[in-house]
């Protein structure tokens, strides 16, 4: 079993598995300038989004925290933050200042201050070229597996999820934690019905209570909309597929959690602590919002397990997708990396999950995912907790 990978150590102690120049848009009106640079300069990655202004304070703070977290993610070797003019509470200068604390090179380009969109594009393009020449001198180094933050998520689940691919992910999470690393799970919606497991696995009652609080708040926010999720869970297609109760559905999703103690719980897009073990983040089930929260916490690589197949990937946190549903693999393998459906032919879990472990570590060492080869970026989204004003 490999106990190391080859990555890019950063000044703050984190280790990247890629060495990109991140083009980070502070607000929606800076997105096109970011995208022009990405079209022109190789090794640049765009983070673009529709937020950053006209949000109430706690909601804007969430956007700010998410953007800062992406700048600090160790897969970014350098960051250029693009701003439109003068935002309130989420300025590029403040974002860049917080990212710079990590010790990596950061610059700000302001469209208004720098003479308009085209002059700002020219300035950001030159900066991206300079950053590329500066950071690409760094070579990969052998680092212990304990430096890995293994991101975990799932989507388009079906009855194969709890039997095959989710169990493989849980097995890999256990191996990463045994090596001294961290695994990070989320998706509060799919914790409903798994409360007993959470209480049994949480290292302290305080951690358990914090996670149960996430679940209660999620339930309340659903009820506040005047609807009752419980009446529609499991869904009609879940029942058709053989899932009988919400407990069965949630416990199937939570097979991704492996078997190790839960050592901490954090709010959306907050950094996690240094302690090795399983960490839990409060996110919705929405794939893009959930994986972006995990990326903001510093995860370098993610396994996204799916029953129905998927195209999802995060621009910066390298995302590999797997399924245990052979029909889904056959339909969706253009954007999936691994098929573990042979578990249903009798392949032992350890063997199928061992292939996942190897694929994840190969990707850490630099093997491209299909999304990277396609330069397809669809999975960045920021969770909101307030209205636009």
């Amino acid at each position: 079993m490999r106990d190391h990978f080859y990555g890019y150590p950063r000044p703050d102690g984190q280790v990247g598995i890629r060495n990109h120049v991140l083009m980070l848009s502070g607000t929606l009106y800076a997105n096109p300038t970011c995208e022009r640079v990405v079209h022109s300069v190789q090794n640049t990655i765009p983070i673009v989004h529709p937020l950053g202004r006209c949000q109430i304070a706690p909601d804007l703070a969430r956007t700010f925290r998410t953007l800062v977290g992406h700048g600090r993610n160790p897969n970014a070797g350098a960051v250029i933050v693009i701003d439109h003019f003068k935002e309130q509470g989420c300025t590029a200068d403040d974002i860049a200042h917080q990212i710079a604390e990590s010790g990596k090179p950061v610059e700000v380009v302001n469209i208004r201050r720098d003479g308009g969109a085209l002059s700002a594009t020219a300035k950001a393009t030159r900066l991206a070229i300079e950053f590329n020449r500066r950071i690409t001198r760094q070579q990969r180094e052998r680092v212990p597996l304990s430096k890995l933050v293994y991101g975990i998520n799932c989507g388009t689940s079906d009855v194969t999820s709890g039997l095959a691919h989710n169990r493989c992910v849980g097995w890999v999470a256990d191996r990463v934690i045994e090596a001294g690393g961290r695994a990070l799970v989320a998706e509060t919606t799919e914790m409903m019905g798994g409360e007993d497991l959470i209480c049994a696995r949480a290292k302290t009652p305080e951690i358990a209570e914090k996670i149960l609080g996430f679940i209660r708040a999620m339930e309340q926010s659903i009820l506040a909309c005047g609807v009752d999720m419980r009446g529609s869970q499991p869904t009609g297609d879940n029942i058709e597929g053989g899932l009988s109760t919400i407990e069965e559905k949630s416990l199937g999703a939570m097979q991704k959690w492996g078997t190790k103690p839960i050592v901490g719980a954090v709010d959306y897009a907050d950094p996690i602590g240094e302690q090795s073990g399983l960490w839990v983040m409060d996110t919705p089930g929405h794939g893009g919002e959930s994986i972006s929260g995990i990326a903001a916490a510093g995860s370098q690589v993610m396994s996204f397990s799916t029953g129905g197949g998927h195209t999802i990937n995060h621009p910066l946190m390298i995302t590999m997708r797997l399924t245990g549903n052979r029909e889904s693999w056959e339909a969706m393998q253009d954007t999936m990396e691994l098929d573990v459906s042979d578990i249903f032919d009798g392949t032992p879990l350890e063997e199928a999950a061992g292939r996942l472990f190897d694929e994840v570590l190969d990707i850490c060492d630099g093997k491209m995912t299909k999304a990277e080869a396609l330069r397809e970026w669809n999975g960045f989204a920021i969770n909101r907790c307030g209205p636009s004003v």
Partner: protein
């Protein structure tokens, strides 16, 4: 004899059929983590990938999968019988039981 099923945890009292099965067919059940195979004859038709009783289950017994409770039997479920919403009910979020 080609029907197979997975029992995910040694404590489970349900098995997960791989593919569809008809009443009377024999199923080779693999118990995860154990080097043994248990043969169970289906006592009812079971749709593709659905569960059946791996042990005799009495009304009121807990249904165990993944080594954890996924609900409660609402009727007696003899070994080999299809286990689903017609004979299992959730024990969570039940306003009528609160």
């Amino acid at each position: 004899m080609s029907l197979r099923a997975l029992v995910i945890h040694a404590d489970d009292n349900v098995a997960n059929l791989i593919g569809p099965g008809r009443q009377g067919e024999e199923v080779a059940c693999r118990v995860e983590g154990q080097d043994r195979e248990v043969r169970v004859a289906l006592a009812s038709d079971v749709p593709s990938n659905h569960k059946f009783a791996f042990a005799d289950i009495k009304a009121g017994d807990l249904i165990v999968k993944y080594g954890m409770t996924i609900g409660k039997a609402s009727a007696d479920i003899p070994r080999g019988v299809h286990v689903h919403v017609h004979n299992v009910e959730s024990t969570r979020g039940r306003g009528d039981l609160a």
